[in-house]
């Protein structure tokens, strides 16, 4: 059966043929971020792919990861294109570098994951929180249920650690 859900008024439909994405979002629905790990070279990868980008092996196992990382870069959207996002401006499109696999398999490589800034319950972050996040911010994954046992991963400030002042865009 295709998995079907809805997020911010957008419909989600992952067909049976796309097993890797069905599994990725079902793991999220169970509350733990999992990534594909190559059975041959063991490297993790994101997003889901049909083979290992480093050794071309197609077999993989799902492996839980910490879901913690550092903001590597971001864009701050003031002019939303998609109707679903117009109520949330300014919103952040994050590129979060997970703590796992930094500089592997090559220098400057890493597990960098797209997502939005959210609050601890997975709702899109309010502007006053958006204004505090920048490159270097410590983030942790949160999940927002989208139906059919699936959830979408989002990111929130990690309140368990002391945050250093992040780097933020400045117009001067």
């Amino acid at each position: 059966m295709p998995l079907q859900g809805e997020y911010l008024g957008m419909s989600v439909a992952i067909p049976d043929l796309d097993r890797p994405n069905q599994e990725f979002y079902t793991h999220c629905g169970q509350g733990v971020l999992h990534l594909q790990s190559c059975v041959k070279c063991t490297l993790l990868r994101y997003p889901t792919t049909t083979a290992c980008p480093w050794c071309a092996e197609s077999e993989y196992v799902w492996t839980p990861v910490s879901g913690k990382g550092t903001l590597y870069s971001y864009g701050e959207v003031h002019h939303a294109i998609q109707p679903a996002f117009q109520q949330f401006t300014p919103y952040l499109i994050l590129l979060v570098e997970l703590d796992e696999q930094r500089d592997r398999p090559n220098r400057f490589d890493g597990l960098r994951i797209n997502g939005n800034l959210a609050d601890a319950s997975g709702e899109m972050a309010k502007p006053e929180i958006v204004a505090t996040v920048g490159i270097g911010s410590r983030l942790r994954v949160v999940f927002k249920s989208i139906g059919d046992g699936m959830a979408i991963p989002l990111w929130t400030l990690d309140t368990d650690v002391k945050q250093e002042a992040p780097w933020r865009y400045s117009d001067n």
């Binding site: 997020y7 008024g9 957008m10 419909s11 989600v12 439909a13 992952i14 067909p15 796309d18 994405n21 979002y25 990868r45 994101y46 997003p47 792919t49 980008p53 590597y72 870069s73 971001y74 864009g75 701050e76 959207v77 003031h78 002019h79 939303a80 294109i81 998609q82 109707p83 679903a84 996002f85 949330f88 300014p90 919103y91 499109i93 590129l95 090559n106 220098r107 400057f108 490589d109 890493g110 597990l111 960098r112 797209n114 997502g115 939005n116 490159i135 270097g136 979408i152 002042a165 992040p166 780097w167 865009y169 117009d171």
Partner: protein, 446 residues
């Protein structure tokens, strides 16, 4: 904050002989050999160029636009419809195929192909044209791009009913996070460059200001008014770090060029724009998700330059003017930097130094480019450099009794935009941070 400067051994004044390839811990030598012919260096040329007006509201179909531009390019070459037997086009499901245009013009084709692609396709298709002619499949190829990029299908997705279709596949990792337009997709790369190298919004805004100066001398340009750095910085924010004026214009237009072998190019109407080297859709690793392969502030030009310069037999210092793609101001800067026009990290300084202005040492996008002239996914920048090499830029300078334009080299608003005696140009095409193409052309047969 502390800017993290990546070690990068490349110098602006590095001798041509050895350019160090620095990537991912590996060092290798890429030698530029200017004495022997590499691949098809000097054997092919662009002999004809043509375009429609750049408008918002063409009032006609992409078929009619494409037909008009193709006919103009063939006539510009001094050729007849019967001289063309190959056709290439590119689009993103927003255009008309070669068969329609060729049919309308009565051209019988020995070869055609319509490929999926946007920015950086122009240079790639020039390479394909050379290849199919070399293979004996046809003799002369016309390449076109036709789009109603404002009145029908807008690249940014505005007005296309974004979000209407279900999220699945790759959409789950992008569109689900409000990341659908090019500005939203590239912002992370641009922002990281500011972080890595201390690049400032003010430096980058010079790209728009300079291109607007050029456009003010281009009667064809959609935006002809000059803007200042302050105008850019005070325009509304689209996606940090991109203000409205950091983003290109959306227009309706078609553009076309004619590629043929040198033995035929000699008989065409204009001095040929001889192709020294071409790179097509060269990629960073992990092209599906280029941001996995860092540093993300390095773009595809870093790889493309290792093909471009050795094959051309010239390097950045030999280039008289550039056509660095300007879908966004940052795009121009990133490519100039990664193709080696300045040291890695000094792109902000380069684009704000004045070198890119008409009258500067190496002007960029003298037509005003995508930021001002019009959006054609790169082909108008190649057309501009072909005309520059001919010395026949279509500005407002007076035309003499023989129909020859008498260039004044007065670059003030409304004036000349012909560069003095350019010999070699470089076009740097951009699809996205992970994919780029490039083209080096020279004036006349080499």
């Amino acid at each position: 904050m502390t800017a993290v400067r990546q070690p990068y051994p490349f110098q602006h004044n590095t001798p041509l002989v050895f350019w160090l390839v620095w990537e991912r811990g590996d060092l290798m030598n890429a030698e530029i050999d200017a004495t022997s012919e590499k691949f098809l260096r000097g054997k092919y040329a662009i002999v004809g160029v043509g375009e429609t007006p750049y408008t918002r509201g063409s009032g006609t179909t992409t078929r009619a636009l494409g037909t008009y531009a193709v006919r103009r390019a063939i006539e510009d070459a001094g050729l007849g419809m019967d001289d063309i037997d190959g056709m290439l086009s590119y689009s993103g499901n927003d255009s008309i195929p070669s068969t329609a245009v060729a049919g309308d013009l009565g051209i019988r084709l020995n070869f055609y192909m319509d490929v999926m692609g946007g920015g950086s396709s122009t240079e790639a298709l020039i390479g394909i044209a050379m290849g199919v002619i070399e293979a004996g499949m046809c003799k002369t190829v016309v390449i076109f791009r036709s789009m109603n990029g404002y009145s029908q299908i807008r690249i940014g997705g505005t007005g296309r009913g974004s979000g209407a279709s279900s999220l699945s596949g790759d959409g789950l990792f992008g569109r689900a996070y409000g990341q659908s337009s090019a500005a939203q997709a590239f912002a992370q790369t641009f922002m990281r460059h500011m972080y890595d190298y201390g690049t400032t919004p003010e430096q980058i805004a010079h790209v728009k200001a300079i291109h607007s100066e050029h456009a003010s001398n281009n009667p064809k340009a959609y935006y002809k008014h000059r803007v200042t750095v302050d105008d850019v910085l005070s325009s509304r924010m689209i996606v940090k770090p991109l203000h409205l004026l950091d983003c290109c214009v959306e227009t309706d237009n078609a553009t076309a060029i004619v590629v043929t072998r040198m033995d035929r190019a000699r008989d065409c109407k204009h001095i040929p724009a001889t192709i020294l080297s071409v790179v097509g859709r060269c990629c960073k690793p992990r092209i599906d998700n280029h941001y996995q392969a860092g540093p993300i502030s390095t773009v595809a030009g870093h790889y493309a330059k290792e093909i471009l310069w050795p094959n051309a037999g010239v390097g950045p210092d030999d280039i008289d003017l550039t056509g660095s793609y300007d879908a966004f101001t940052f795009t121009t800067m990133l490519q100039l930097e990664d193709y080696g026009f300045c040291e890695k990290g000094d792109g902000g300084e380069y684009v704000s130094s004045g070198i890119m202005r008409l009258g500067g040492a190496r002007p960029n996008n003298t037509s005003g480019g995508h930021l001002c002239e019009g959006y054609t996914h790169g082909m108008n920048m190649v057309i501009e450099n072909v005309r520059q090499l001919r010395g026949e830029i279509d500005d407002s300078c007076p035309v003499d009794a023989n129909g020859k334009r008498q260039h004044t080299y007065d670059y003030s608003s409304g004036g000349c935009r012909q560069v003095r005696d350019p010999e070699i140009t470089a076009n740097l095409g951009w699809a996205m941070p992970g994919t780029g193409s490039a083209l080096v052309m020279a004036k006349g047969e080499r």
